[in-house]
């Protein structure tokens, strides 16, 4: 591998020390905001505006954020936003898998007329400005009563999750040797059975990774719930901005506690699927 050809192949040369220092510099910059958020979330209201690292930590803020108490400034119901987020994202991922897996299989196994067009149309959703579809959806949702409903949110989060699932899984199905299914066909399996019994179990890691990554993308989305939901279907990403509040006193520690809670699910999932992340994030554009 090329690694021994990079500077610092020997330990403790000036180049290797410089490289390590550069890395440490980046990671201080990279991790500091996350660490600071955790610390801030543990501070008492009296200490929230201090910028010191020594204080007596408390878990009170998490309780306050989740119990909907003491939020006279914001009146944010964070707990219900949390539950809504789980329902919206879970629903979107579920529908994406049910619809996306067959499409991904078809696109990965066969070259059929229009398959490339379909795939690239889906990929283009990744690059289209969200507001382009949101403004008409806002009008349509208001007309047909989907505004501020969880069903409406699940439907619109497809925009985020379905292309992701199809693109990731397509490359998994492409990598799956067709011989395996052919052998099953020779044994008298139907195509459908060969798919369910042979292909599907073999790409299970891919399905898990795609589902988790889709969940993260849906969870992190801000624009859709901001515009297409109000109280019933609003999510943590929208709720957290309300903690910043308007004028008057700011609840720094509560904001940080909310940020920690809202960031935890994606962070945990990301560490779980780290091995598959590259393929997922690049939508299979680069295979790893």
């Amino acid at each position: 591998m090329a690694k021994e050809l990079l500077p610092g192949q020997r330990r403790f040369t000036p180049a290797s020390v410089g490289a390590d220092l550069a890395l440490i510099g980046w990671f201080v910059f990279s991790l500091f905001p996350i660490v600071w958020m955790f610390l801030l979330a543990l501070k008492t209201p009296a200490a929230q505006t201090t910028t010191y690292f020594e204080f007596s930590p408390t878990l009170e803020n998490f309780g306050t954020v989740l119990s909907h108490r003491g939020t006279d400034l914001t009146s944010v119901d964070f707990k219900s936003a949390l539950i809504t987020s789980l329902i919206n994202c879970g629903g979107a991922v579920l529908v994406s898998l049910v619809i996306g897996i067959p499409a991904a299989y078809a696109a990965g196994r066969w070259q059929y007329k229009g398959s490339n067009d379909l795939m690239f149309t889906m990929l283009s959703f990744r690059f289209a400005p969200e507001l382009m579809v949101i403004v008409p959806l806002f009008v349509i949702y208001n007309q047909i009563g989907l505004f501020d409903t969880k069903l409406g949110m699940v439907w619109v989060l497809q925009l985020v999750t379905m292309p992701l699932v199809v693109w990731i899984l397509r490359s998994y199905f492409q990598d799956l040797p067709e011989d395996l299914e052919q052998a099953a066909l020779l044994d008298g399996y139907t195509r459908r059975r060969a798919f369910v019994m042979i292909a599907l179990p073999l790409v299970r890691p891919g399905i898990a990774a795609a589902a988790l990554l889709a969940f993260i993308f849906a969870w992190n989305n801000y624009v859709f719930p901001l515009i297409l939901a109000d109280n019933n279907a609003s999510t943590v990403t929208v709720a957290i901005t309300k903690f910043l509040g308007g004028g008057g006193q700011a609840y720094y520690n509560l904001t940080a506690a909310a940020a920690v809670i809202a960031a935890l699910p994606p962070l945990i999932l990301a560490l779980t699927i780290q091995r598959y992340l590259v393929r997922g994030l690049s939508f299979g554009a680069v295979k790893s």
């Binding site: 050809l5 806002f138 990403t237």
Partner: protein, 319 residues
């Protein structure tokens, strides 16, 4: 968001000749075999249509005078485009968007490639850091925006304290806001470039490097002549994803500055948001978005064709 393909058109005969046609396979009529991939894709196609529909409606809004105060829109041709294109604020948004997208993409790419090269060494520090590299990327941009907004606060924010800037330095003043939002974007998305390029480096073949090391080539020579050309497709994929996303940046910037102060960080998406959602002028917002979409689309086509060339070159077809 069109059905434009960048690959050669699909083959006429969809069925890959295989043992599926052998007599032992269960008897399935040919037409059903041909239809299978289409049937499997039907739900996905319906979803695509369900999303293309609002997209087309949105494009249609841009030739109407549709607004909340004007619920009975009529066709007004290209008047929205004439008015938007003649508007100083629009061109300011174009400038803000272009500056943001170009600067952020270039810096993220350079730093990301640098981090990937540093992480590729087998040092203990590198192995530890590789695990946590992705963390900022997984935090929602909105939440990242909230965190940074707290840190940017001149009075209570931790940044001025740690950096010894005192309470007078304002990160989000009209003079600094652009650089601050770029800094936040850099914080969130540089890991994306880094992990893509790192995966690329790890997939490179060993032999050319060993051969030129035997020839006594310097590290920099090998980097420039061997590694960079082979890595180019990976870097380009990262650039494409980052540039497209930076052109339509919204979440973090909206939380940090809401486009302000004044119009200092008012990107095209924020401009469209103001027009459509805050002022409820749907047509004007859609015109903004349509123009942004055209910009994104043209850029995507250009970059993807460059990527195709780079991939062919890296595959050795041209060298």
């Amino acid at each position: 968001m069109t059905t434009q393909s960048v690959r050669p058109p699909a083959q006429a005969d969809p069925e890959i000749p295989s043992r599926a046609d052998s007599p032992a396979a269960p008897e399935v009529p040919r037409w059903r075999r041909k239809l299978r991939p289409y049937l499997l894709s039907v739900p996905a196609v319906l979803i695509v249509i369900g999303i293309l529909y609002p997209f087309v409606i949105g494009a249609y809004y841009s030739v109407l005078n549709y607004a909340a105060v004007n619920p009975n829109p009529v066709f007004i041709g290209l008047r929205n485009f004439v008015s938007v294109l003649g508007d100083v604020e629009f061109w300011s948004s174009v400038r803000v968007t272009a500056t943001f997208a170009v600067v952020a993409t270039v810096v993220e790419t350079l730093v990301g490639v640098g981090i990937a090269l540093l992480l590729n060494r087998s040092s203990l520090i590198g192995r530890i850091f590789e695990k946590v590299l992705i963390l900022p990327l997984m935090i929602a941009p909105v939440i990242a925006g909230v965190i940074w907004k707290l840190m940017f606060n001149p009075q209570f924010g931790v940044l001025n304290h740690v950096l010894g800037l005192g309470s007078t330095f304002d990160w989000l003043s009209s003079h600094n806001a652009m650089w601050s939002v770029i800094l936040v974007d850099l914080w969130i998305f540089t890991p994306f470039v880094a992990i893509l390029v790192l995966a690329g480096i790890r997939s490179l073949p060993k032999e050319p490097f060993e051969a030129s090391a035997v020839d006594g080539a310097s590290w920099f020579y090998m980097f420039r002549k061997l590694m960079l050309p082979m890595l180019w497709p990976y870097i380009l994929v990262a650039v494409i994803f980052r540039f497209m996303d930076n052109l339509k940046v919204f979440d973090a910037v909206y939380v940090l500055t809401a486009g302000g102060p004044g119009i200092a960080t008012r990107t095209l998406q924020i401009g469209a948001f103001e027009d459509s959602i805050i002022n409820l002028d749907y047509s004007r917002g859609s015109t903004y978005m349509f123009l942004l979409w055209v910009i994104v689309f043209i850029t995507a086509r250009l970059l993807v064709s460059v990527l195709g060339k780079a991939q062919r070159r890296a595959a050795g077809a041209e060298s």
